[in-house]
């Protein structure tokens, strides 16, 4: 089982328990799922390989839940709190980020109303914004203030991730 696959399905099981009987039709299937889940949990104590991504995913989800409770005017200048669409789009993107094994620096509210995900690498900065109106925005710049014109081919999470990776790391390994 790959780490990405493990990340995809194990979190919900661990947080919410087994899938309901409606989604798994037989007792045999439930037993199989329980067995896999227990083996995952049992691995936590000894495997950094498994524990790291899951802890990061839990932390990511906690931050996103926190943003949901933010109120309008959180910045004292009238900024809107992130809405359901913005948080959902950010969650979808962060899922790709986790699968792509890229580390973000911070998730924070955007002053333009939405969610921002920041990436740092040396002097390079990438900010992906998921705004309340459903649009997405990518800001790529150097700490010195130089802005790059590099932009994703489309608004998909994968295109954002590819562009961020290309800007931050060029052709080099992370």
């Amino acid at each position: 089982m790959s780490e990405a696959t493990l990340f995809n399905f194990s979190l919900d099981w661990i947080k919410e328990g087994l899938p309901s009987s409606s989604s798994l039709s037989t007792v045999l299937q439930q037993q199989k799922v329980r067995s896999v889940r227990q083996s995952i949990i049992g691995s936590f104590g000894s495997s950094q390989f498994l524990r790291g991504p899951l802890e990061k995913a839990e932390a990511t989800e906690a931050v996103l839940r926190g943003l949901w409770h933010l109120e309008k005017n959180w910045d004292s200048y009238g900024a809107d709190a992130p809405n359901h669409a913005a948080i959902g789009a950010a969650r979808e993107f962060l899922h790709e980020v986790a699968k792509g094994k890229l580390d973000y620096k911070r998730i924070l509210p955007s002053a333009e109303g939405g969610v921002a995900v920041a990436f740092f690498h040396e002097e390079k900065r990438a900010i992906a914004e998921f705004l309340n109106d459903g649009t997405k925005n990518l800001i790529l710049y150097e700490k010195s203030g130089a802005v790059t014109s590099l932009q994703p081919a489309d608004d998909s999470p994968m295109a954002f991730l590819d562009t961020i990776r290309a800007f931050l790391f060029g052709g080099r390994d992370q």
């Binding site: 200048y77 620096k105 911070r106 333009e112 203030g145």
Partner: protein, 159 residues
């Protein structure tokens, strides 16, 4: 001491290049010592307190914050010469950024940064209407602000 009140005084649109513009920020806006462009909005004209009529601490006084308690916020400053700039989009259309003095009854120093496509006689005429710049121009301007600000008052960190 309270921030200067308007008390009938008119707006003055003469901003010197070295004059500072003050703005509040939260502790959560700092990432490894940096305030990121995502913490600076430009879908509406952002508000500042201008140095000519305010001290940095006036920015976190309720009179300059719509009567809210913002005492735990930090304050950063930008020079007018950073804000006053012309930027072009990919079609070569110009966007002019400029500070505009917009006094409030209890906060005479209140100002905004507007974006205009034409100055139309400003500052002798009234301030030009704010236009929302296209995304690439807005992003460049937000990065410019984030890269040139100085923190004057640190925010309280949450306990």
């Amino acid at each position: 001491m309270e921030p200067m009140k308007q008390e009938g005084k008119a707006a003055h649109q003469d901003f010197l290049p070295e004059e500072l513009l003050f703005r509040r920020f939260r502790s959560g806006d700092i990432v490894e010592g940096e305030i990121l462009p995502s913490s600076l909005r430009f879908n509406e004209p952002p508000s500042f307190c201008r140095e000519r009529y305010a001290k940095p601490e006036d920015t976190i006084h309720p009179n300059c914050a719509d009567s809210r308690d913002v005492s735990g916020f930090g304050v950063f400053a930008l020079k007018v010469l950073t804000v006053r700039i012309e930027m072009k989009d990919r079609t070569d259309k110009s966007y002019l950024f400029l500070p505009v003095h917009k006094p409030l009854a209890n906060c005479y120093a209140h100002s905004q940064v507007h974006c205009a496509t034409s100055m139309d006689g400003f500052p002798s005429a009234s301030a030009p209407d704010h236009v929302e710049p296209p995304k690439e121009v807005r992003n460049s301007f937000r990065v410019r602000l984030a890269s040139n600000l100085s923190v004057l008052i640190n925010p309280e960190t949450p306990s």
